[in-house]
Symmetry: D4
Subunit: 162 residues, 8 copies
């Protein structure tokens, strides 16, 4: 059985359209992952368990997305030394600035690798996870290089009118 190395967690079902971007990237790069709803506030014990068992379960990267007073990434980071990548989900009133500040402004001791607000950030969380795993996996490193080269190659020389 393929060992799951990346855990994608999110505060609620409504974060999935954003966080799916991370999953798509991992699919594209052939990185096995799991996707779970772990709400910092509504299921704090689930969060506790998830954080505490992350290392022993063999998780190597945790991607955590949340919006508003987004405590999930930072709280997981307080429970495990496994690198946590945070995705600020865009919010209605404050456009995700609240999510961004709640995730990125962590105190000394508990880093969260914060990505851009929204879908681009979620996709980049997948790429960051792949980049970390690629340090130990030459095949993945090559696939990641190829992905990057394909992205560069896809850019046309000139803009075109619709």
């Amino acid at each position: 059985m393929t060992e799951i190395k990346v855990g994608i967690i999110m505060g609620s079902q409504s974060d999935w359209p954003t966080m799916k971007e991370a999953a798509t990237i991992l699919d594209d790069l052939g990185v096995p992952y799991e996707a779970k709803i772990v709400s910092a506030h509504r299921t704090p014990d689930r969060l506790w368990e998830y954080g505490k068992k992350a290392a022993e379960r063999g998780l190597q990267v945790i991607i955590a997305g949340a919006g508003g007073a987004a405590h999930l990434p930072g709280m997981v980071a307080s429970k495990t030394r496994v690198p946590v990548v945070g995705v600020p989900v865009q919010t209605r009133a404050l456009s995700g600035v609240d999510s961004l500040y709640s995730i990125v402004q962590m105190p000394k001791g508990f880093p969260v690798a914060t990505m851009a607000i929204g879908a681009a950030g979620a996709a980049n969380a997948g790429l960051m996870a792949a980049g970390i795993l690629a340090l130990q996996d030459k095949d993945l490193a090559q696939r990641l290089d190829a992905w990057r080269e394909a992205l560069s190659a896809s850019i046309p020389e000139e803009p075109i009118d619709d």
Copy 2:
């Protein structure tokens, strides 16, 4: 022995100069309280315990102060139905806007009664706690009324030059 009804918790020793304002108000109004350092990230298990036992210990209000990615108030609120009053501590780079957003923008289900940034907010947290307790304590209600009247009476009619 006087039963402690208000718990003042804060993320770190550096929050105490701010949070002491809450303690001073409670002292002035004769409300017994405790003051503890409970860091959401550095002592997450302490936070868990604190939240889980708050109700059975007879706490009626929890005042929680934190700065930056300020997860303490919201995380305690996720563990107990005891009303949580949040104080955004002023920060160096973002002046406490990060603290404010991390505390106030809680998702449906877990209110945190957020106060103003900094010392005024901490003092007001003490007054909010007193106001809640006064609903069941006529003597405290009178002391609170007197405190408010004294504040109003202290305002001179005209400004004076230094």
Copy 3:
């Protein structure tokens, strides 16, 4: 007759779609309340009356929602020691940041228990009111615990595609 313990007040009819969320929560938890339009600027005398009589009428919590230069929560708080919970209503130009600052940045002496901007904040205002009343009402405390447990239980383990 059931005594009304919570007053929901708002600056205008246009705030009701937001503030109704507070009413719904109180309905769900069986807490009797009233809902009134009390405009700080258009009906200042109504505000005065409301604040002055709140305690003697037996109100235990006042939930006040307003947008823009949102003076209603703070002005009511200046007239009564009854705990005031403030809800910043989302606004067109500034998304409710104006409402938030006008409500939360109260000076020492007059706390307003500020909630998140918009509908989530209004729902949480209802829960905060319930949490305060539950300190004196074991049945309500149980209903609130049950509401919280149901919320937690409703969270699926994994996100699902639409």
Copy 4:
């Protein structure tokens, strides 16, 4: 006896160093004024009285300065048709953006003529009051024109090193 035509009011003694700038301008232009501390939250009844009697007392402009959740200018404007000029006092955490939003974002019906944050805004409040009074007072209009010309004339052609 000279009739007082301008009322300068402020939320607290700590606003006076800012609001004194308005008084100085009025002194310079020979406009009689009074300066009072009227706190929206600590002395709401004083505010009520002040607003209600402003017109009959012959006040023609009210200059109101306040900081943070600055409700004074807007609340006075709700009690009188006399033009209210608002001065956002600079604050510690939010630099007066909270004051500005609380003063300027008034709903339809109750304008507050908002000035710049801080001392420049207070001086300009004095000038705005003078400009309004000058509509009925040719001598004052001439003094105001002279003040403006003197300001223009005071600007050197070239900057000088210290």
Copy 5:
């Protein structure tokens, strides 16, 4: 012929849907006005002329609306002692915060009586103009009082579901 006492000027035709709110209020209160397009950048000489002749033409209040780098209100204020009321028009990218800062943050010497962003601000500009004119016009003062009373009277006691 009725003398025009209020000039409504705006930076472009696209500001008219906002500024019309000021005109509507003046219509309702029977205050004669003119509405002109005067662009600070595209028709600077028109602005110059407008400012320079305002006093001698008998204008008593100038209402100036503009968006973005909104220089119109402040530049007119530099050319005339006639009170200038500024309306920050809402903008696409920055929601009118750019307009607000460009209008309100005037240096000492040249006040602009700044209103709220957008339509409410424009309506209030009309009311502020009326309030200033009412200082010399008892009939207008009565009409303004009546307008205010009607507004207050229009507020229902309780919110209604749609």
Copy 6:
């Protein structure tokens, strides 16, 4: 006599410590310039004259610095086709965000080449002016290239402790 090609103008003497950075760069690169105080609000006619005569006087770049409601750069740009470089001067309450928005958010038709807030922006205004002049002046182009190379060469490989 050396023809002056760059005009440095600023709203007040207090902007000179910032704007001197532009002058220093121009001195270093041997570009003749003049430095004048031209206040948009206090000396609007001076601004008018300056803008109107800029092209015929042979000015090739105008560097305009101002703070707060910073109208100088945009108003000069409305009076001349000579390229205008704007420098947002840092302000006390809003740190120059007000200056930045007032300068950069110009409407279609009147570009202002906006630089960073404060001293770095002023120095860069000098470099931008030099870069524009260098298009017609090979010697200056070489001096500018040399200045850039010297800057790059001055960067040590490794940081050093104080």
Copy 7:
């Protein structure tokens, strides 16, 4: 063959609807240009080449548009002394404030002539380029003057209802 004097570059095809405004202005003024996609991150070598060859290819102005962490304008400016005009493209979460800060806040040594966020800024970038080229091209200077006069002449005296 007409020599190309202005290069319009942008980070991605999605920036073209904005940047086309610059192209339209240059078309209107008869200024030959090229439009290229040069992504700072996806095609860094293309950026390198573009910057390095700009001067020798005879480019006199580079207009660079980008959104979010908008590094293109500043990075090109680091590679060439040719004046770079930056256009902050509006973004979904942060409305282009991220683009603006990433473009305008350049350190000493590498100015980017920053325009307004979005389409108005792109059009102005075209006008700024024309203004720079007009310093050496009297015919273009006349066409630019005519364009400006036509813009001014197009402004009606009074607003019209739709």
Copy 8:
């Protein structure tokens, strides 16, 4: 010889007091690193080289700190698949919000693991690097766990007055 696994790079010497916090953490955890000044704008070729050779040189994590229009982290990320951790250095006018937005808002394809603004962020960058390396190094994992436990253990139960 110990192989260097972490590269700390920064835009200028003035960033070193901040970035030294990362170095100190790596020293404490026994992780070999190098510290270099690599300016995106002043030494773009150095940046190019650094990015291009990072993988082959065996670097496993790059920590990049910069302020203002902070392009260094993102540009390095465009040149290498090695994980890049970004530290927004606090700035004078905008307190590091400019740095934060310039670093975190990366487009899809090029993640930068963004930390908090300033010294806490730099220390956390060191911890994030250690956490990534610990995935392949059990001894380091233990030292990191010990570091975290010591941090937790250092938190006293109660705050103390100075």
